[in-house]
């Protein structure tokens, strides 16, 4: 990214797309090209509106289905409910929320997601600080290794880690799932935070060191507060990642009290007959990620852009 002109450019009003006559001096678009621009702009608007609707429809279908009586779901499409408000009912939700299996799966999801996110932030920030500001032999090589690990697919670790966890007695436990997610979140965490920490002005750290602050004080008082934005982006990214995971939970979670994704997946077997459970369940499982997404769009986009290497 170079220069502020670029940042300003997108907000500048769009010039007319093309001119047939280009006289010197302040250009005056011909009437024809102005009409063309308006029509073209109109077409673009129509196309984008259609696309936006197309993109929303599948989710709208889930939402509408979740508010319909099972008999209505079985007999007609969700769009019929749009013109018939009498079909709307919250019964599916109240049934689901009073279902202990579902609420306990929600707790399991939280019990997995929160510790994995905290652990990745803490361990990742510690290591990132070392990579950014401490000197030790082999530092560059170790960091190259971490970057290389960014793209390792989780599939590679499933079989050996299942064995390892079995030996340790944490196979099919929440602890195991947390450890697995933390480990696979670390390369990205270290990569993202190190790059951010490295941008902290050296003078700040040196001044603190001259004042006699130890490494731990430097880390907690200077680096962590300054690293806030990157930590937020990382936290959101990791939270969503773990919350939405199904594969790791399918293998490593306690199958008697699985997280939401696995619990819902188990309901898929009778897909046609229990949409009244699946639709509200899926929508409830989406609520938290969607809420975070809309509340922290900027951090989420930052995380996604930085994570595009992952």
């Amino acid at each position: 990214m170079s220069a502020s002109t670029e940042a300003a450019a997108p907000s500048a009003p769009n010039p007319p797309p093309h001119r047939t006559d280009a006289p010197a001096g302040p250009p005056k678009p011909s009437l024809a090209s102005r009409i063309g621009a308006i029509a073209g702009g109109g077409a673009v608007r129509v196309v984008l509106t259609v696309l936006a609707v197309l993109w929303l429809l599948p989710t709208a279908g889930l939402l509408a289905s979740s508010f319909r009586d099972p008999r209505d779901i079985a007999s007609s499409g969700w769009w019929e409910a749009l013109t018939d408000p009498g079909q709307w009912t919250g019964a599916n939700y109240s049934a689901l929320l009073s279902n202990d299996a579902f609420t306990s799966s929600l707790w399991t999801t939280i019990a997995i997601t929160v510790p994995s996110t905290v652990l990745v932030i803490v361990l990742g920030a510690l290591a990132a600080y070392a990579f950014a500001w401490l000197d030790f032999p082999g530092r560059d090589w170790l960091f190259v290794l971490v970057v290389a690990l960014l793209v390792v697919p989780v599939q590679v670790a499933l079989i050996p880690v299942a064995r390892l966890f079995n030996t340790l007695g944490i196979f099919e436990t929440t602890v195991g799932v947390v450890i697995f997610h933390s480990a696979f979140g670390l390369p990205f965490a270290i990569f993202l935070l190190r790059n951010f920490f490295a941008e902290i002005p050296r003078e700040l750290l040196e001044a603190a060191r001259l004042d006699g602050a130890g490494e731990l004080r430097l880390f907690t008082r200077v680096v962590l507060p300054l690293g806030g934005p990157a930590i937020a982006a990382l936290g959101i990214f990791q939270f969503m990642w773990v919350w939405n995971d199904m594969l790791v939970a399918l293998i490593f979670a306690d199958s008697s009290s699985p997280p939401m994704t696995v619990a819902l997946q188990q309901e898929m077997r009778q897909f046609g007959s229990n949409i009244e459970v699946l639709a509200p369940g899926a929508f409830l499982s989406m609520l938290i990620p969607l809420g975070i997404f809309f509340a922290f769009q900027r951090q989420f986009v930052t995380g996604v852009m930085a994570g595009s290497v992952k």
Binding site: H18, L51, G77, Y129, L158, V301
Partner: protein, 436 residues
């Protein structure tokens, strides 16, 4: 490493370094580095893990029918999904540059990134429901189909026996007599419920035209009784919208026409004279019910579409960021020189974005390799074998009852190898950044 930076870094005491670094390194070592080594070794042993089999698992992987299906599907995924998602992302990014509610649009398209593949899977199971009364995709297809083809015009219509119309295997009816220009034919049908035909006009005999083969298709049933068979009696209804084809002796269609409101049709004599007339099968087949999205043939494209729904927003956001960095002056200069929007896009925007597009494409390719949830959730068990991909086959072989961790490990190694180019690319990028 630039020397300027080295000065900034303070050589810390070893125990301090250890405190900061060890927890992370231990986890990485135990859960990623060691497993890589173990998986590679495990892939050389048999299902039970007791005897060394060399590369047999890999041989299996490439010859076994089930895994080959997974392999070829993964290949389709890698080629199609990233390209479509990136292409759409590029189009969206360029189009949104010119509207005021660009942010809202981007939010809508980007939103699916936030939800789990499981939720997306459930969403698309609903979309792909077979019954057009319930599944959105088939409902849309049926609506479009019926708008353009009118559906099957008269699914119940059929001729009386021995009226010169012979039923064909595909449901069409062939007229036995040869069609002659100037000799109007009568094609009486029955079987339509009078209520269904109540909206039709009265049938009329076709005019004799020496330049055309003409005729009438009508419902040979006089309401209230009476009437003569094979004759257009007053009050008998026309069957409009029926497709009449002129068929040559070799079976090819020389001309076709649709019956009008009064049941008449007309085919040009130069094509139709001397042919046999046929009432096309499409007139009589049962109502169109859409396609079987999750059946063996369409299941993979259908799941890829749901993936594109999720990830096009990712491509769009990255490309839009790149687009914002394209110098306005360059685009303006081209426009002043008389380039139209398409030329600006094709000759300037795309080439300038090419490196970014490549990064997005490769990132998505790596991502696609790991797609497991979508396939596992969307494909019903009846067509899961047809939708199989490597990541799913790994799960099935090692955890889902397959009990062959040797094969599973071989698949894992293959996935890892496919990721190595991306690994090298990342490390290279890191090196270049350090040099700067």
């Amino acid at each position: 490493m630039a020397s300027a930076k080295a000065v900034a870094v303070i050589r810390a005491r070893p125990w301090a370094v250890a405190c900061f670094l060890l927890p992370a390194l231990l986890l990485l070592g135990a859960l990623i580095v060691y497993p890589i080594g173990y998986t590679i070794q495990r892939s050389l042993f048999d299902a039970s893990g007791s005897s060394f089999v060399g590369l047999e698992n890999f041989q299996d992987l490439f010859t076994n029918e089930a895994t080959r299906k997974a392999l070829s599907n993964t290949l389709i995924w890698i080629v199609v999904a990233p390209a479509v998602a990136t292409g759409l992302g590029l189009i969206f990014a360029v189009l949104t540059e010119r509207i005021r509610w660009a942010t809202a649009f981007k939010l809508v398209v980007f939103m699916p990134m936030a939800i789990s593949m499981l939720a997306a899977g459930i969403i698309f199971r609903l979309v792909y429901e077979q019954d057009p009364d319930r599944g959105l995709a088939n409902a849309a297809l049926v609506t479009v189909h019926d708008t353009f083809s009118g559906g099957a015009a008269w699914p119940d219509a059929r001729p009386r026996p021995d009226t010169g119309l012979t039923a064909q295997e595909d449901g069409a009816y062939l007229v036995d007599a040869t069609a002659r220009a100037g000799e109007p034919v009568l094609l009486p049908l029955v079987g339509v419920k009078p209520a269904d035909a109540s909206g039709e006009a009265e049938a009329a005999p076709a005019a004799a035209d020496p330049g055309a083969v003409t005729g009438t298709v009508w419902l040979d049933f006089a309401p209230g009784g009476g009437g003569t068979q094979d004759v257009i009696d007053p009050g008998e209804k026309a069957l409009s919208g029926l497709k009449v084809e002129a068929v040559r002796e070799d079976g090819s269609v020389a001309a076709s026409a649709t019956t009008g409101d009064d049941g008449t049709f007309s085919l040009p004599a130069e094509d139709a004279d001397g042919t046999q007339l046929r009432l096309a099968a499409g007139n009589f087949t049962a109502a169109y019910n859409g396609v079987e999205w999750l059946g063996p043939t369409l299941v993979t494209p259908a799941i890829i579409a749901s993936y594109v729904w999720m990830w096009a927003g990712f491509a769009m956001v990255l490309i839009a960021a790149g687009l914002a960095a394209v110098p306005r002056e360059t685009l303006e200069a081209a426009r002043v020189d008389g380039a139209n929007e398409w030329q600006v896009f094709r000759r300037i925007t795309v080439p300038l974005l090419a490196p970014l597009l490549a990064v997005v494409l490769v990132t998505l390719m790596i991502n696609v390799l790991k797609v497991f949830d979508l396939v596992y959730v969307i494909a019903p068990s009846s067509s899961q074998a047809d939708a199989n991909v490597l990541a799913l086959e790994l799960y099935r072989s090692s955890f889902g009852g397959g009990a062959n961790q040797g094969l599973g490990s071989a698949i894992a190694v293959l996935l890892l190898v496919l990721c190595v180019p991306m690994m090298i690319m990342n490390v290279r990028r890191l090196r270049q950044e350090k040099k700067r």
